[in-house]
Amino acid sequence: MIEVQGLSKRFGDNQVLTDISAVFEQGKVNQIIGMSGSGKSVLTKCMVGLHRPEEGRVLYNGRSFHDMNDEEKRGIRQEIGMLFQSSALFDSLTVLANVMFPLKMFARGSEEEMRERARFCLDRVNIVDKDDLFPSQISGGMQKRVGIARAIAMEPKYLFCDEPNSGLDPQTAILIDDLIKELTEEYNTTTIVVTHDMNSVMETGENIIFIHQGRKWWQGSRQELLNSDNTELNEFIYAGELMREVKRARDAGR
């Protein structure tokens, strides 16, 4: 479980996050939603320690991340897997070498065992026979899946996904969403997905946090999301025609 307590972050005069408190539960897909520029990616980066918040704490199973020494932080980070919006695969390494990278840096065992583990992770995300290709030689959807394989290589306790299906076609996006949900159940991870894709929210969201103007505006389940009377939240979720159609159908069925 990850708990955020009173977290605030600013860049110069720009206050990006204000007093955010939230609980992200283990074994669930926790989603942070909000408009572009609302601060959700900054919140994630504060949680994984890429940004230091001015105020507040992030607790990993009760341990405050920002109060830890470097060694303890390194230990926590080895329990984190992260899928980036851009996939962030290393250009100079092959697909297999990318997935083996965290294993080579931190895992014990022979080269062959690491290769086996990396191949297992690639199989798990349905990437087969691409071991020797470089990231630039595979599609965006495949890059995301390789990114997921790399994120799960060390069997993480915490899985962060920053806009995992941005730039993907709807079918591939659903595949990625399903994969994240399956892996969350399989590894019992605390999964945090940053997204503004309502399809993704409706497919996999279990604990949803809505960030608006740098503040936590709303938190609840998928069912509560659809029944919410929060104006800003409704403006966000019903911005697209598809969701408006869903709402009309629901209202008509009442």
Binding site: K45, G49, F84, D91, K104, M105
Partner: protein, 246 residues
């Protein structure tokens, strides 16, 4: 005040660079790769420049000191001194700041804007150490060899051009390069080379590591890496010459 901010951040980056490596074997393998990329692949340009510059130094020296009062071997002497003391360590380092420095800044800057450095940090890898230390070790180890090759080729180019153009006999040139030779001058040149390698690598890496934005900013970082490296090399050259030769 801005310059103090950069000084502070540069030294904090250096502290991280010399942090404990996660896996020494991986760092060593990366150092060997960087020695090839940053050193061996610079051999061609270093060889070409050295041979031609040595040739030009010889011919220009001869045309400027063409006097019956000055002995012929002085041309070889001047060529040797110019090449060993200044051309090979300093001019080649300035050239390498352009080639290697821009490469380092662009590579690390691209990794920054593509979130690959964030990925390393989140994995718990000391990204500064992993990315910069092997490059630093590689340039510090390989640049002295490049400069020694440059010294040899510079003097050889001078001999070849001088003899071929008929401005000096082979015997006079060889007498000149042997006359008044001080081995410390080679040591001095190699000390300068190592210091310049440190400057090129760390300043370029600093520019790349703290790149913010996109591809345009990567280009700006590369340009800054070359300009700042060159300026600091020139300053360090003056200081080292003052300290080591006077």
């Amino acid at each position: 005040m801005r310059i103090l901010f950069h000084f502070g951040r540069y030294f904090l980056l250096l502290k991280d660079v010399f942090g404990r490596p996660e896996r020494f074997r991986i760092y060593w393998r990366r150092t060997l790769e960087e020695m090839d990329l940053l050193g061996v692949q610079s051999l061609g340009i270093v060889a070409l420049l050295s041979a031609f510059m040595g040739a030009v130094i010889t011919i220009q020296t001869k045309t400027n000191i063409d006097s019956p009062l000055i002995q012929a071997w002085v041309v070889g002497f001047a060529t040797r001194q110019s090449v060993i003391l200044e051309f090979s360590p300093t001019v080649i380092s300035l050239i390498l700041a352009g080639k290697v420095g821009s490469n380092i800044a662009a590579e690390i800057g691209s990794m920054r804007v593509k979130e690959q450095i964030d990925a390393l940090d989140i994995m718990g890898v000391n990204s500064a150490g992993y990315l910069i230390l092997p490059k630093l070790a590689a340039t510090i180890l390989i640049n002295p060899f490049l400069v020694m090759i440059s010294m040899f080729l510079g003097i050889f180019g001078g001999w070849l051009a001088g003899v071929q153009a008929g401005v000096i006999s082979s015997d006079d040139f060889i007498l000149g390069i042997q006359t008044g030779f001080k081995p410390f001058h080679v040591t001095y040149a190699l000390i300068k080379t190592v210091v310049f390698a440190f400057i090129i690598t760390t300043i370029s890496a600093y520019q790349g590591y703290f790149t913010r934005g996109g591809t345009r900013e990567v280009g700006i970082s590369s340009t800054r890496a070359v300009v700042y490296s060159n300026v600091v090399i020139l300053l360090a050259n003056l200081v080292l010459t003052r300290v080591l030769l006077l």
